[in-house]
């Protein structure tokens, strides 16, 4: 800790440090930002977790949460800001951390902060003809200014790429170039396509049937959740988290619950911790089942789809008995869970575990062992560990590339420190299950590896549940919580591992009953951005399979 502070101080003598937060926090001037960023990268901080734009009323700020793929527990928070409200500029870090390419576009979209030197300053979510920057505190939503559009944009609107530099006189200079050339053959996949897993729009440059470049377009399901949160109380916000990534509903909600609980100093009873862990793992299984089912469906196996959905219904039944909901469980509340578990819960879960184990074997016989499937999955969609870290690809996809990034291990929460389980990275997977089904076919970072990691993770989740289900402690299922929850002024950050990777919540509070700014770090954005490097020089038919193996959920990206 101390060392890093010294190091930053040496890079930027004017840097100030904030005390009291969970992580080391440094405030640097915009001019020093690139120096500090490059220095940190050199020190091994190669994983940009989260980039948050901020409107401080008198200035615009950007907050960087940076971690390292080696020293996994280390997190550094960098902050910088600009007081120019007319033309806010901040230097880019997109050449230092690749994922910043997209994160900075998001900050530009929401706040109008121009990142100088960024090669591609298009909006990320909203249409180019949108007027204003919605997350600024002085933005007024007005249908007469931004009516419901009636026409889809022309190709030019997607392709004109502006970039900004500062010239000799200190003035901002705008340059425009085109993303594709006139002679390029561009195929639009989406926004309405059965295999894009949501309304994602991929503009794909082809030569014959070989992919040369993919330009993802987001925002078709941008619902403005973060902005809505700013005018809600904390318990109200909970309902929106489940609708971000609806397949990991409980885990997302867990993240926000924990963030609020820790900030408000609420002690969650052990019983609730256990129940939450079991529910999280059930959700992980359900989500992986859908991931598996849809991927197989994309590859033409309808039977697998039906099998996966059938077994998922068993989990839905367990949910329903205890919580009353199916897809939206609405079960976690600040301080614990909404009601106690159903008397049948334990038995039902115990019945489910052996059933699921049996079914997993069947899945392998049905699909994994199929030579056609294996042949297709074997050599496509490779992502190296370095690329995964640079793009922040976490979760099963990151682990299939050999990056151990499981938040359950890095920052154990709930009851995860009380159970034995393995983090399923590529090597772990090979020693556990990969060998039964063609060891030679499962290559590091490939489509097959991602497929296998997911299935082995289901086994691991079953193992976690098995250890917990008989030991749920007696006691309260919910702590006493004040009727109106107010967080002390400050900033809070909480990570959880959802079925797709590192999901985090950032809250800035001014001491009020509603937050000043909320940001959700979506693991899925990284997954989609990884499509471009993974699919280069591959056949377009495999694009669908590769995206199936990444298993992203679009509403989580668009928020």
């Amino acid at each position: 800790m101390e060392k890093i502070q010294e190091y930053i101080h040496k890079l930027a003598p004017k840097a100030q440090f904030e005390e009291g937060g969970k992580y080391t926090t440094a405030i640097v001037e915009a001019n020093d930002l690139r120096k500090v960023a490059a220095g940190l990268k050199e020190k091994g901080f190669d994983y940009l977790m989260c980039l948050t734009g901020m409107d401080n009323q008198d200035s615009f700020g950007v907050i960087y949460h940076i971690s390292s793929s080696k020293e996994k527990k280390e997190v550094i928070v960098l902050k910088t800001n600009t007081t120019n409200r007319e033309e806010p500029t901040i230097p880019t870090v997109s050449d230092i951390w690749e994922i910043a390419n997209y994160y900075e576009r998001e900050a530009y979209d929401f706040y109008g902060i121009i990142f100088v030197g960024h090669p591609d300053m298009r909006r990320l979510f909203l249409r180019e003809d949108w007027v204003g920057y919605p997350f600024r505190k002085d933005f007024v939503a007005d249908e007469s200014i931004n009516p419901i559009p009636t026409k889809v944009p022309e190709p030019d609107d997607y392709e004109t790429v502006p970039s900004y530099t500062i010239n000799k006189d200190g003035k901002l200079e705008r340059k425009v170039k085109s993303l594709f050339e006139n002679k390029d053959c561009i195929v639009n996949i989406g926004p309405q396509h059965p295999s894009t897993h949501g309304v994602l729009h991929l503009r794909t440059k082809l030569e014959g049937e070989i992919i040369k470049k993919i330009d993802p377009q987001f925002g078709y399901i941008h619902r403005g959740i973060e902005k809505m949160c700013e005018s809600m109380t904390y318990p109200q916000m909970l309902y929106l988290t489940e609708r971000l990534d609806y397949l990991c509903g409980t885990m997302n909600r867990h993240a926000l619950c924990m963030c609020v609980e820790k900030a408000a100093g609420i002690e969650v009873p052990a019983r609730a911790q256990y129940i939450r862990t079991i529910f999280d793992e059930l959700t992980r299984i359900a989500s992986h089942l859908i991931g598996w089912a849809c991927m197989c469906n994309d590859m033409g196996s309808i039977t697998a789809f039906i099998y996966g959905m059938r077994d998922r219904e068993k989990i839905m039944d367990i949910y329903e008995e205890t919580a009353g909901g199916r897809l939206m469980v609405n079960y976690y509340v600040v301080g614990g869970v909404a009601q106690d578990i159903h008397p049948n819960f334990v038995n039902r879960v115990k019945e489910f575990i052996p059933y699921m184990r049996k079914m997993l074997k069947e899945y392998h016989i049905l699909f994994t062992g199929n030579p056609i499937a294996a042949g297709r999955m074997k050599d496509s969609g490779f992502l190296t560990k370095e690329q995964a870290v640079a793009l922040g690809v976490t979760g099963p996809s990151g682990r299939a590339s050999g990056w151990s990034c499981d938040v359950r291990k890095i920052e154990p929460y709930a009851a995860y420190d009380k159970v034995k389980f393995d983090e399923i990275t590529y090597n772990e997977m090979m020693s556990k299950g990969g060998n039964d089904y063609g060891r030679d076919n499962v290559l590091l970072g490939g489509t097959f590896a991602r497929y296998m990691v997911r299935l082995v993770e289901i086994e691991e989740s079953l193992r976690i549940i098995e250890q917990l289900i008989d030991n749920i402690p007696e006691g309260d299922f919910r702590a006493k919580v004040p009727a109106i929850i107010k967080l002390p002024a400050g900033e809070y950050y909480q990570r959880v591992e959802n079925a797709r990777g590192d999901f985090s919540v950032y809250i800035k509070s001014t001491g009020d009953k509603n937050p000043y700014r909320v940001k959700f770090r979506s693991p899925c954005l990284s997954l989609v951005t990884a499509l471009d490097p993974m699919c280069r020089d591959q056949k377009i038919a495999d694009l669908i399979m590769i995206s199936g193996s990444l298993d992203y959920v679009i509403p989580c990206i668009d928020r």
Binding site: V199, Y220, I221, G224, I225, Y246, F305, E313, P555
Partner: protein, 201 residues
């Protein structure tokens, strides 16, 4: 007036809600009068049509997952003749608008709807597509798809249970069974919440 018993195999007419709406619809149809031959022919065609309504694979968010559940083994809408989902709007009879429709998506949805061949139907699934649902206050969410396309059946819920979706589907079947196939009503043109006279082609 009695509702003509619109037969749905698995459920009695009394068990349905919203029969009033169909009664009104029958009244409207009867005003125009029909001759007996076409009426019989109508019944036959409608029997066929209502039992092979093919939905379009369209889902933007959460409600889409429940839609998948309805299609999968346990709830299985093939039992009602909804059979296969079509991936092209040209081959589909009905679009389930399952999920939030945002400003960016609105023109796309409208285009997909326009591409569907007549006769076509729209079911709005879930709070989001009915009124904006939990995102009503958002700056980027269309508060109800009926602002851009005409809707036949609303299925409330967030998300609606699969059973609710099946119920909505049966309601649409009943509506189809009542129609005069040879004199289908024109579907209204809607843009920005205002209905225009005349039909779509």
């Amino acid at each position: 007036m009695e509702v003509k018993d619109i037969k749905i195999k698995s459920m009695k007419t009394e068990d349905f809600k919203d029969n009033e709406y169909l009664e009104k619809y029958i009244e409207e149809l009867q005003k125009e009068g029909l001759n007996i031959v076409t009426e019989k022919l109508d019944d036959l065609i409608n029997w066929g049509r209502s039992n092979s309504v093919w939905p379009f694979t369209f889902a933007t968010s959460c409600c889409g997952i429940e839609f998948m559940c309805v299609a999968a083994a346990r709830h299985d809408f093939a039992r009602f003749g909804w059979e296969v989902t079509r991936n092209s709007p040209r081959q589909a009879d009905v679009i389930f608008v399952s999920g939030t429709i945002t400003y960016k998506m609105a023109p796309v949805l409208k285009r997909l709807y326009d591409q569907m061949a007549e006769p076509k139907y729209v079911i709005a699934v879930g709070g989001c597509s009915i009124s904006g649902g939990p995102f009503k206050e958002s700056y980027h969410v269309v508060n109800g798809v009926d602002k851009i396309i005409p809707v036949d059946v609303y299925v409330p819920g967030c998300p609606p249970r699969p059973e609710a979706m099946l119920y909505g589907m049966m309601q649409l079947q009943r509506k189809i069974k009542l129609e005069n196939f040879f004199k289908l009503p024109k579907r209204p043109n809607i843009s920005n919440g205002k209905t225009e006279e005349g039909g779509t082609k």
